[in-house]
Symmetry: C2
Subunit: 344 residues, 2 copies
């Protein structure tokens, strides 16, 4: 790997072919015999030739670039999904330009404009701020993950099933009272169905339940204080009962476990806990808790398949209408013995 | 934002200026009066003009693209640093093309070749596999973070100071025996100095100490088993003493806390624990532990400053020799009362 630029002339000199032949190798290799292709290939290696994709892009308009708009990676779920998307490079060859929006609508609009100026061929949206109607109007293939998706393609976990699995597990543990903890989420967001799934089971089985849907502030400290207020409210009226708690993400769940220990000196008994995402913190927790797992590798692959399909359509016909495709990925409940009753 | 391409002709028609004037607006705006610039500016908005950076890139060779090679984001430290780098976009305007190497040398060489083919102007290396001699030969500005950096620029936390802070804190807690836990790291890696700092304090204060430097395998489960073997070995000989444990990262520390609870039913007494990175898991842990914090926002900013400085040099003189700059960022020890002695 060297910094010096190797030109077509250099390759021609080295191989004793004409520059036309070298150019043909890059643009119409089928005109060359396999032997001659091999000679040029070897020369490229010997000369450490550095392909100039920007040139090729101008010729064909195929940048092989996909833009990603990320929210902040505070929740481990986002770095899990992001890592899974990056891993798709080996199969699809597309490269990712990544911008992080910090949930500022105006800023994200600028980010998208900036990405489009690089002739990205597609866009993956993981942030919340822009309505799908606006994203659909961009004119490039867009896939969103776990976001409002009325007018654009999406890949989502089956959140309803996730909520059902979580509530069913609590029910199997024969809790006396059932609780759901989340921040306010609008019904158009796929994650809203975690709540609906929880309610479905509670209604079917006639389980006493309460929803704690509250703003918890930004950052762990604020989240922890908010979770603490909720647990105190629960304990005020249910301290003599076995409580079943379903948190809409693992971060809230780990804070529930922490608060029970710090405030009540209780670890893993009296309550039964289920988180969502099955991220590493569910395993690392001092008493590992059950969690509804999202198959981030499947989600990433489905996302790329939709995107590449639409990109190919666009390459054939730049004016074609893009279909709106929705894929749903099965959640996988990871059971861990949160309650460890025999140990106390 | 619309998908239809707006051309210079469209802008000329709309503003009743000539195409030459429009072109001048983009390439030599100083030739236009402020009034005329304003008219064209308003027209661009009205027409929803989408700038084509690829065109500008070809003209000036300034892609404003920086490549990032990431390792897997298993440790929260990497997503913290990565997030901090993404945040630099608002100040520097450079965009990041990100590839994840999974510690495969050959694959990472291909990634870099691919990035260079997009005429990236600089490269940030967070993975371990490529020696700095090879990276220096690439011919683009390269900055590495917490990696072997003999021949390239780098930004590192003062790891020696970090090790000293951690061991000093254990010493203040008057432990009877002192332990350092890490996987094998070569002495050229900046992080090696965490060990050196620990040893410095142990030697100065004549503290009985042992190093547990062992391969712990991949993934949390393997790490947990490995940590378990180490804690068992420590407890076999020090169960009646207060042990001080310094882990080279927070993930190992959280697993120490978990193992002590799961195996010995001990939480936060008997041992005193210090991690490294001060990532969110140190706060979320059921007994939050002390940790040597890396200032990832400062690290990211210093990285960009070195990189942009070198990119500007290169824009002026493409053949110029790049300086090798090393910046060191102060670690910040976050003290948390790991031992909570009054509570037991």
């Amino acid at each position: 790997m060297s910094g010096k630029k190797v030109t077509f002339s250099d390759i021609a000199d080295y191989t004793h072919f004409s520059k036309t032949t070298i150019s043909r190798y890059f643009n119409n290799p089928e005109y060359l015999t396999p032997e001659n292709r091999k000679i040029i290939e070897d020369a490229l290696k010997a000369l450490n030739y550095q392909e100039n994709k920007i040139g090729r892009i101008l010729a064909k308009g195929e940048t092989e670039l996909i833009g990603i708009i990320m929210p902040s990676m505070y929740m481990p779920y986002y770095s899990d999904v992001f890592q899974s998307i990056l891993n798709q490079y080996t199969d699809f060859g597309y490269k990712f330009i990544v911008l992080s929006g910090d949930s500022n609508k105006r800023r994200e609009e600028n980010y998208i404009r900036e990405l489009l100026s690089y002739n990205i061929e597609g866009l993956i949206i993981l942030s919340h701020t822009l309505p799908s109607s606006e994203l659909a109007a961009l004119g490039v293939p867009v896939v969103t993950i776990e976001r409002e998706d009325r007018f654009i393609s999406s890949v989502n976990t089956d959140n309803l099933m996730g909520g059902i699995q979580a509530a069913s597990l609590l029910y199997q543990n024969q809790c006396d009272a059932y609780f759901f903890i989340d921040i306010p989420v609008c019904p158009e967001t796929p994650g809203y169905n975690r709540l609906v799934g929880f309610q479905t089971i509670c209604r079917d089985k006639k389980l006493p339940n309460e929803l704690y849907i509250q703003e918890l502030g930004k950052g762990i400290e604020n989240n922890y204080r908010g979770i603490g207020r909720i647990i105190d409210a629960i304990e005020m009226r249910h301290s003599d009962q076995k409580v079943g708690i379903f948190c809409a993400n693992d971060t809230f769940a780990v804070l529930v476990e922490k608060y029970y220990f710090q405030r009540y000196r209780i670890i893993g008994r009296h309550y039964c806990l289920v988180g969502y995402d099955n991220s590493s913190i569910a395993t690392e927790a001092i008493v590992p808790f059950s969690s509804v797992g999202q198959q981030t590798d499947v989600i990433a692959r489905e996302t790329m398949e939709i995107l590449i399909g639409q990109i190919k359509k666009r390459r054939k016909d730049p004016e074609c209408r893009l279909p709106v495709e929705h894929k749903v990925v099965t959640p996988i409940l990871k059971r861990r013995d949160t309650s460890l009753p025999e140990l106390y």
